[in-house]
Amino acid sequence: MEQIIQVAVLGIGLGGVFALMGAGLSLVFGVMRIVNLAHPSLIIGGAYLAYWGFRIYGIDPLIMLPVCALVLAATGVLFYKVFFERDAKSATYSEMTVLLTFAIAMIVEGALGAAFSNTQRVTSPSYATDAFFIGNVFIPKGQLYAGITSIVIIGLLAAFLKFSRLGYAIRATTQNREAAALLGVNVNMVGLMSFAIGIGLAGAAGALTSFVFSFFPAKHWEWVAVLMSLVVMGGMGSILGTVVAAFSLSIVAAFVGTWIGSTWSTMTFFLALFLVLLFRPQGLFGEKPELV
């Protein structure tokens, strides 16, 4: 029983980190229909900011988190203006953004490599390799703090979307961009803000991942498929779905890794992606597309 609890705890801890990593991706797709393959590379950017804040000034990555979020949000505004705004009305916008964000991911990787070298980094606050022990069950402090922070941020995001005026506009645009525009919503501004928030979440996730995983510029290729599987399983554009998928798949992967083998734990995410696309392509919380 202890073993089952232990594995579940580890799965939950990993799920908390993945939830925030995937939330921004989901938001950007929901509002802008941008399949942002560059999202994980921007998470790495946030991780580097947290790393250097810790390395040079000794600032805890949890304290650096707002800085990382703001810097990446500003980067998101810049990217949106330069790369995404012009073609937002194109009928093939989503398809175009797949290629565009793939290119951006490579540019970001190259820029990070030039700025910080390709050496792997990890921030090492004392809690990153420490754990609480309850009997024989341990709760890793790093994942616990990262998971709690993720949940708080996602909760704040949910409250913002539900209760703020801009949140209303974002939700309206997510549901029907044309109808929202007809009702007076400045969909371009909503797109800009959503993109900035989404990329800001990448920055926040970067601060957390900086002490949970080691990272280097090319690391994002390992994350993109995992994050895509979370977003697709949750339902493209559903932040709640992404969170549910992150926790459930991480827990399942932890059990698979323990009782079947580590080789198969990563496969869990891709198997889930395959099954969802096969049997419920709209994902757990997505809406079934209507035939026109």
Binding site: V7, G11, G13, M106, A111, R121, S124, A218, G261
Partner: protein, 426 residues
């Protein structure tokens, strides 16, 4: 875009005038400057570049300046193959330096052999690479990866009191060409030729069994995308193993595994990793590294005396030159490619030509009495291209950041005392 994402051309500093550039001796190297192997790929580029710069400063090779062409293969096999073909058929290189990792070296070896090029390999230790019958392939590390485990076996036998020796082992490894090869030797597996399924080597009973160890856990993790380190470490801890063997494919994985073992408070007597000599490993794990054993091909204190150009060039010279050029200390990922470059330079100087057939004949004729001399020591090769009579060095992290060599005992003076048993992770 960052230059390394384009086909990068790193030109030696001394190549200044068009006249010299036209007559430059071109050498090509495809390296993983981006992608999963980028950490080591970048360091390989630094090692190659430093060597070429030093050669050019001392007058070049055969009176010609050397131009190093480096392309980023993005850690991708197909790209590495096409880049070497381009070097040979388009860029007109006269020699090549090898790439990083067994996975990339395996297909590249076929291309270079087919084109009659000497293939000096900095990192590509899987035995299967050397049993394909390729001409002109020369490995610049002590031995094939399958035989790395013999150093661990011998270290336990020679340096650990019988009463203090670990009795059980958990072996975990990346599903990677190199790590699989090391695991095969430790576990005593059969190595098969991927081309025809024939037996390359039967490594039974394996170095772990030969050390009297009971294998209580065997686990492999996927080559890419693995994040569940704490779960893996927890399983290792629960196995109760007194020796943990972690065959990581990169320093990054070594760091992740060590941090996870520290977090779950695993309590082994001994930890051996296949990667982790790099400064970044210590930066990532800090004092948890104390007592961790790593095999290595190079050590800063090793008093090896090589040759560069026609002049002696010691390991200490290399460290000084590297630090002056880069502002930080080198590790083996830069030292090994430097030795590759030294090897080719000696062959070209000795034969007075860049005819690869002649270079191959000269290199294959090296003996332990008349070897190639590098900052990794002396090299002579058997008919497969594997070095003769070179043991791996076993190093151990000690005293919060010192990487001291602890085995073998008689290779050169200065072997440090072995810290055993490992005393926790703090």
């Amino acid at each position: 875009m960052h230059a390394k994402l384009l086909t990068a051309v790193v030109t030696a500093a001394a190549v200044a005038s068009p006249a010299i550039a036209q007559d430059a001796l071109r050498i090509g190297a495809s390296l993983p400057l981006t992608g999963n192997f980028s950490v080591s790929g970048e360091k390989h580029e630094q090692g190659y570049s430093l060597c070429v710069d030093l050669i050019n400063e001392s007058g070049g090779l055969l009176g010609r300046q050397v131009e190093l062409l480096v392309s980023d293969n993005r850690s991708d096999n197909a790209t590495a193959i096409s880049q070497y073909e381009r070097f040979i058929n388009v860029n007109g290189v006269e020699a090549v330096f090898g790439t990083f990792s067994s996975r990339l070296t395996f297909p590249v070896a076929s291309i270079l052999s087919r084109n009659g090029f000497v293939h000096p390999v900095p990192a590509g230790g899987a035995l299967r690479i050397y049993t394909q019958g390729y001409e002109g392939i020369y490995y610049l590390q002590p031995n094939a990866a399958e035989y790395v485990g013999s150093s661990l076996r011998d270290l336990i036998a020679d340096r650990v009191d019988e009463a203090e020796r670990p009795s059980s082992v958990a072996i975990v490894w990346a599903d990677d060409f190199f790590a699989n090869a090391v695991a095969a030797g430790l576990l005593g597996q059969q190595v098969m030729d991927p081309a025809d399924g024939s037996l390359v080597a039967d490594l039974a009973p394996g170095y772990l069994v030969e050390s009297g160890l009971e294998i209580v856990m065997e686990e492999r993790w996927p080559e890419e995308g693995f994040n569940d380190w704490l779960n893996l470490a927890n399983s290792i801890k629960n196995s109760g193993a007194e020796l943990i063997v972690g065959l990581t494919a990169s320093a990054e994985e070594a760091s992740q595994l060590t941090r996870a073992l520290q977090t779950v408070r695993a309590d082994p007597k001994m930890v051996y990793l296949s990667q982790g000599t790099q400064a970044e490993y210590f930066e990532g794990v800090g004092s948890a590294s104390n007592g961790v054993l790593v095999h290595t091909s190079w050590h800063p204190n090793a008093p090896f005396e090589g040759v560069l150009g026609d002049a002696p060039f010691t390991n200490a010279d290399f460290i000084a030159a590297f630090e002056e050029a880069n502002g930080f200390a080198p590790d083996e990922d830069s030292a090994i490619p430097f030795a590759v470059c030294q090897t080719m330079a000696q062959a070209i100087n000795a034969t007075g030509t860049t005819d690869n057939q002649v270079l191959d004949e000269w290199l294959s004729a090296r003996t332990l009495e008349d070897p190639v001399r590098t900052i990794l020591g002396r090299f002579a090769w058997d008919e497969t291209g594997l070095p003769i009579g070179k043991p791996f060095l076993m190093a151990q992290w000690q005293n919060d950041g010192e990487l001291n060599f602890v085995y073998p005992l008689d290779e050169f003076p200065g072997t440090a005392d072995l810290v055993h048993p490992k005393n926790g992770w703090e």
